[in-house]
Symmetry: C2
DNA sequence: GTTAGTGCAAACCTTTTGCACCAGG
DNA sequence: CCTGGTGCAAAAGGTTTGCACTAAC
């Protein structure tokens, strides 16, 4: 069966993008990644894996997917990185050492609302970024 | 009296940077800004105000001040922006419309610690970023 | 066949760097 | 003097764009 392929196809359709070969390959590559990827790295991966893609296609696809809300965007060392995102309210914990991003769902839904109210903000995007060092990296640094 | 000048001088010395004319001017310009400024904008401001400065000096000064912890760094539309920062634990609320950044001190010190613990992170930098729309912008958008 | 997608190369923009000059102690 | 700061111009990324070609319905 071709469920993986079908799934990316469905995702693209749901986003209102025609499911072309390149787009599916980009989405599949993203699907395998635990942490945000830069356009160039993705380009190299797809090219080496025997799928020639133009840089512009990579950029255009990533931009389109992000605009549709399928990807989260992170900036790391002056380079934009993208990662598949879960829907719904959650926070992002970003490791500044290895770049890992953990999506954490907080049970205490009221916290963000309270902060926003106190600061006179509409915190419409719950994708709050918390920066630090992930557990594995922290333990590696201590040793 | 020249207290303003003295103050930037003191800030620079405290940061371990010799208080040159250019650096003081950069710091003073930042002091007048409620929201993060990009290097180019700062360059234009200083130049128009009759103080010729090289772009490289602006960049080098901003980088140095940020490295010393005197400035917070934000990325907006692919351009790095800098703002004088308060010391101590606080969150940043960033308006995606006007770029305003509000520093909010939360009384509930435990929240961040709890999130970090649950996600196995060391949230060493309390300068968490919350994105949204500030009150004035939100009201402007509704009208 | 018509419309959307793609590749290439050039352009763009922000930021960094090399090097000669300058300033301040 | 001598060291660090500065300016200029060039280079270095990363990203976008114009245009001709291709592919999919």
């Amino acid at each position: 069966m071709t469920s993986a392929l079908d799934e990316t196809t469905a995702q693209l359709r749901a986003a209102g993008l025609s499911p072309t070969r390149r787009r599916r390959l980009v989405l599949e590559a993203l699907d395998r990644r635990p942490r945000p990827v830069g356009a160039h790295e993705l380009y190299v991966e797809l090219t080496q894996q025997g799928t020639p893609v133009g840089m512009s296609t990579v950029y255009r696809t990533l931009t389109a997917l992000a605009a549709k809300g399928l990807l989260h965007v992170f900036v790391r060392d002056g380079e934009t990185h993208y990662r598949l995102c879960a829907a719904g309210r959650h926070y992002h914990l970003v490791c500044r050492r290895c770049g890992l991003v953990v999506e954490h769902v907080d049970e205490d839904e009221g916290w963000l609302k309270r902060i926003a109210r106190e600061a006179d903000f509409e915190a419409d995007s719950p994708e709050t970024e918390i920066h630090g060092v992930c557990g594995p990296c922290h333990r590696a640094l201590k040793s």
